[in-house]
């Protein structure tokens, strides 16, 4: 971070503007439940209660410059446990946006710039043509090497498709085979879906950089892309913040969206209930144990416990109820893993791992061999803290396990399986 001067915000005024009457900072009882329940407490000597009090005490300069705003993942757990329902994440957003571009964590800024560099809105800067090429290339290979899927489809820019499906850039860029399980699932349930060459990517670091205008532009590109194809449902892939940034922005900016926003989790659950995805846990003969990580961005901050229940239904169907162990706390009360809010990209590794210790303890307490999560940031962070703190667990995507259960997981699609799971496949 450069030493460029950060302008000073009047946080108290902003709080009055932003927070609803009755839940503003002056309702704070200073009881500390927020800080007690916040994984970022103690980092940079800060915590949510201190943030509120410093705002009320007029410590605007300190709050405007504290790097803690990049360690708070805006997960809103503080608000969740606050009896007065006070929300500081909006103030953290403003504080982030207030940092000069050069002073912000470079990783987040660069990701946002890359998102805006092509019509893909990809944080890795993958242009539309390259995306099309990778998809076609992988599809070709699957058709050739996996006879059961010789007619597999991965439609691109298909007008009027029911589902507009987005895609994390990490797969086409780094592990293209990881796209395949989801295609197989769509194939199995007979979904009418499409990728889009525009606005297909499922990342949005512009929101995390506090750049409201950029955030809007990215979402505009995506909304336009969905509208242009005339899809009924924008189906969010296994990603947390891509859902939240889209859903929140459409409401926040009052955008015209002629489609529904849905999460893949909801559909996994629905397809299993409808028998379209005939998964079962018979494969788990060794009673390998699993837990699940609730991404803040789709659970606490968006759908609430309903989607968390869907997620558990899916996991239990996949691994067997007796092999599922919930983390505590969970669902809307779950801890952020510490990978969100751009933390993974911010380059503050030590702080991020300190934050993640709470998640690590949660996972360790379950004793589970694997964590399932429908979020790429959660996925990466949990892997990292697992290595760092000497954890003995793996992290897997839902699509991997669904295909594993269905017996259709290709050989190149097993990156995240440990020897115990691999041993069960063949």
């Amino acid at each position: 971070m450069s030493d460029k001067k950060i302008p000073t915000i009047n946080f108290k005024e902003k709080a009055i503007e932003l927070l609803p009457e009755g839940a503003s900072f002056d309702a704070c009882l200073t009881c500390g439940l927020c800080s007690s329940g916040c994984p970022a407490s103690g980092i940079e000597n800060m915590d949510p209660r201190k943030f509120i009090r410093m705002a009320m005490l007029g410590m605007n300069e300190e709050l405007s410059t504290t790097p803690w705003v990049w360690c708070c993942t805006q997960c809103r757990r503080c608000q969740h446990v606050c009896p007065m329902n006070i929300d500081i994440s909006q103030l953290v957003f403003i504080a982030r946006g207030n940092w000069p571009q050069e002073a912000k964590p470079a990783g987040i800024v660069r990701s946002c710039q890359l998102i805006r560099s092509t019509d893909s809105t990809s944080a890795m800067g993958l242009p539309p043509d390259d995306f099309i090429f990778v998809v076609e290339d992988v599809l070709q290979e699957v058709r050739e090497t996996q006879p059961a899927f010789k007619n597999l489809q991965a439609p691109m820019d298909k007008k009027g498709a029911h589902f507009f499906v987005n895609q994390n850039s990490r797969e086409p860029m780094n592990e293209p085979d990881e796209m395949v399980p989801l295609w197989k699932i769509f194939d199995m349930v007979g979904a009418d879906w499409t990728y889009s060459s525009k606005g297909w990517a499922a990342e949005n670091f512009c929101m995390f950089s506090g750049d409201e205008e950029a955030w809007y532009e990215v979402i505009k590109t995506r909304v336009d892309a969905v509208n242009a194809l005339g899809c009924k449902v924008w189906l969010n892939t296994e990603c947390g913040h891509s859902y939240y940034t889209m859903w929140n922005a459409i409401n926040r900016f009052g955008m015209e969206a002629d489609f529904q926003l849905e999460s893949l989790i909801t559909y996994y659950a629905r397809w299993i209930r409808e028998g379209k995805l005939p998964v079962n846990s018979d494969w788990n003969t060794n009673n390998i144990t699993f837990t699940v990580q609730d991404p803040c961005m789709i659970v606490r901050k968006a759908y609430g416990d309903a989607i968390a229940e869907d997620m558990r239904f899916v996991v239990k169907s996949l691994v067997g109820e007796e092999n599922f162990i919930d983390m505590q706390p969970n669902r809307s009360a779950n801890y952020c893993c510490g990978g969100g809010g751009g933390f993974l990209q911010a380059g503050m590794t030590e702080h991020r791992r300190t934050y993640g210790k709470r998640k690590f303890d949660q996972i360790a307490a379950t004793g589970a061999a694997y964590v399932l999560t429908p979020c790429h940031n959660c996925h990466s962070q949990m892997e990292d803290i697992g290595h760092h703190y000497g954890g003995n667990y793996g992290v897997v995507h839902f699509w991997t396990l669904i295909c594993l259960s269905l017996g259709i997981l290709g050989e190149n699609e097993r990156t995240y399986l440990g020897p115990d799971l691999l041993a069960l496949i063949d």
Binding site: D26, L29, T30, N45, M54, G58
Partner: protein
């Protein structure tokens, strides 16, 4: 802190203390006299039956008057204010916030009076600039939309606690002058037209002792009449005016905001660091010891204040307080507001005493001038020819006092960035290190330090929870440090909460009702502080 101060007797092995000048009354005036005399090389002992600023000095808006308030009815006071305002801003900037002040009239106020205001100011030499209502609203967005007139004057705010603490600290530094809290005058020994000793009681321990001085100064404020009577003087005639003020949860305006009308209830809102202070009502009282805000006075202030600043009707208040102001009775039958705001120095020669004087009346803004006049008399009587220098020597910015400044503690703490220096008062963000420092070296720390005394010397307990959490945490910390070793800490906790409650009692509504419900459940429901001296032997925690 190897030895707890609680273990020490009040006065080690002596029953008489000696000094050049005994000053009775630890208000700003007493503290000011102490420093003034110390600057002239005279040793003093300052005593207060409670603690610094326990009377009117601590019970006002903290307004450093420009004088604008008095231009219409007391030009002499207005001019004094103007001059002292300028001196304090120059010499004690650490105690002053140069907020500027607004005088505002709203629809329905006497416009004729409003129109004349600049002339009044001019006559007193006070700068006064008219600004348009829109400009005023831009400066202070919470002002009423019904604003019709606004003038800008050089009002400011002053922290009376810090002012007193730093005056005392400077005197101590200059010549080891001593401040002794909780020390009450019981009687004077008089011999041959001279006071030969003051008989005092340590109100914490009940121990009686004597103080022998060459000169005795009565700076007892509202209590000055009673103290003078103990010396047989009947020439101090005071009118007591009870004022009630409210403290809001947060700072509602940048400037001092005065209602542009002849002084009346609820017409000044003064920022005090991180809060605002609204007041005041004024009613005559004869009662000095148990003045407390009444609900009617609170409602009156809020209603009147809301005419200027509508948000005052819905604001969260955390505290109210009442103090008795001593006003000089010049003619019988005057009401409190009309009585003069001037001060009087009585040399008591007419009462047959040559080493006793009384200073009373006046106001916070003119405390230095009052101290100067008093010190002049005392010095002259002692043959000291040194002139007053408090109008030219800056008040040192003492470290021991730094914790009283609103918002200062968290800045020091934030800068120090020491994770082990935990915040004990979360509202005002007062860390352990502040408590250590106060217990160790703040003026008055020589005697027993209570939670109340710590609160007086810091911002602890001044925030929205009003000490209900930090009282517990600070007590725990002091137990940890071995400062408390028995149930004293529990009684201190109880007394502290009782004391803070006095200020809250009349403003517990809205959010504060939730805060207090939680506090009482914790203090009484769990800790049983309402039952420490239970008559049930099993439960009684006080031995």
């Amino acid at each position: 802190m190897s030895q707890s101060p609680l273990d020490q007797p009040a006065v080690k092995g002596h029953n008489t203390l000696e000094t050049d000048v005994l000053i009775i009354g630890g208000g700003v005036t007493g503290a000011g006299i102490m420093r003034d005399l110390a600057l002239r090389g005279l040793h003093t002992l300052l005593i207060d039956k409670r603690d610094l600023c326990a009377g009117a000095s601590g019970g006002n808006h903290g307004l450093l008057h420009s004088g604008g308030r008095y231009v219409s009815n007391d030009r002499h006071s207005a001019i004094e204010c103007r001059i002292e305002n300028e001196i304090l801003k120059r010499l004690a900037p650490q105690c002053v916030e140069q907020t500027g002040g607004l005088f505002v009239a709203v629809e329905g106020d006497d416009l004729e009076f409003a129109e004349k205001f600049p002339q009044f100011c001019a006559a007193a030499g006070i700068s006064c600039t008219e600004i348009g209502p829109n400009e005023a609203l831009r400066m202070e967005p919470l002002l009423s939309e019904k604003l019709v007139k606004a003038y800008l004057v050089p009002d400011a705010t002053v922290d009376p606690f810090r002012l007193a603490l730093e005056n005392v600290a400077h005197a101590r530094l200059l010549n080891d002058s001593i401040y002794r809290p909780h020390t009450e005058i019981i009687d004077f020994r008089i011999d041959n037209g001279k006071i030969t000793a003051a008989i005092c009681r340590d109100n914490r321990t009940g121990v009686m002792f004597n103080i022998q001085a060459r000169q005795y100064v009565n700076a007892g404020g509202a209590w000055a009449m009673n103290i003078a009577q103990k010396a047989g003087c009947t020439d101090v005639n005071l009118l007591y005016s009870k004022g009630t003020l409210l403290v809001s949860h947060d700072r509602m305006a940048g400037h001092v905001i005065n209602r542009l009308r002849p002084p009346a209830d609820g017409d000044i809102l003064v920022p005090g660091g991180t809060v605002s202070v609204l007041g005041t009502t004024s009613v005559h009282t004869d009662n000095l010891e148990t003045v407390r805000p009444t609900v009617a006075e609170i409602d009156r202030n809020v209603m009147e204040g809301a005419a200027m600043i509508p948000a005052l009707a819905t604001a969260r208040y955390i505290r109210a307080f009442s103090r008795v102001r001593p006003l000089l009775q010049s003619s019988p039958g005057e009401d409190g507001r009309a009585a003069t705001r001037g001060f009087a120095l009585l040399d008591h020669t007419s009462q047959g005493l040559t080493n006793f004087c009384t200073i009373t009346g006046g106001k916070l803004t003119t405390f230095r001038l009052m101290a100067e006049k008093t010190a002049d008399l005392v010095a002259r009587r002692l043959g000291n020819t040194q002139a007053c220098t408090t109008d030219s020597v800056a008040l040192p910015d003492g470290d021991a006092c730094r914790w009283t400044e609103p918002g200062a503690a968290p800045r020091y703490w934030y800068k120090a960035n020491n994770a082990d220096d935990m915040i004990l008062c979360e509202c005002e963000m007062v860390p352990q290190s502040a408590i250590d420092e106060i217990v160790k070296c703040a003026p008055g720390a020589e005697a027993e330090m209570t939670l109340e005394a710590i609160a007086l010397r810091s911002r602890a307990g001044k925030g929205p929870c009003q000490g209900s959490f930090c009282g517990i945490r600070i007590a725990s910390y002091l137990y940890d440090r071995g400062y408390y070793r028995d149930t004293t800490g529990l009684t201190h906790m109880r007394d502290f909460f009782n004391e803070r409650f006095k200020g809250m009692r009349t403003v517990i509504w809205g959010r504060q009702a939730a805060q207090m419900e939680l506090a009482e459940a914790l203090h009484c429901g769990l800790l049983g502080l309402d039952n420490l001296d239970s008559d049930c032997p099993e439960m009684a925690i006080l031995p």
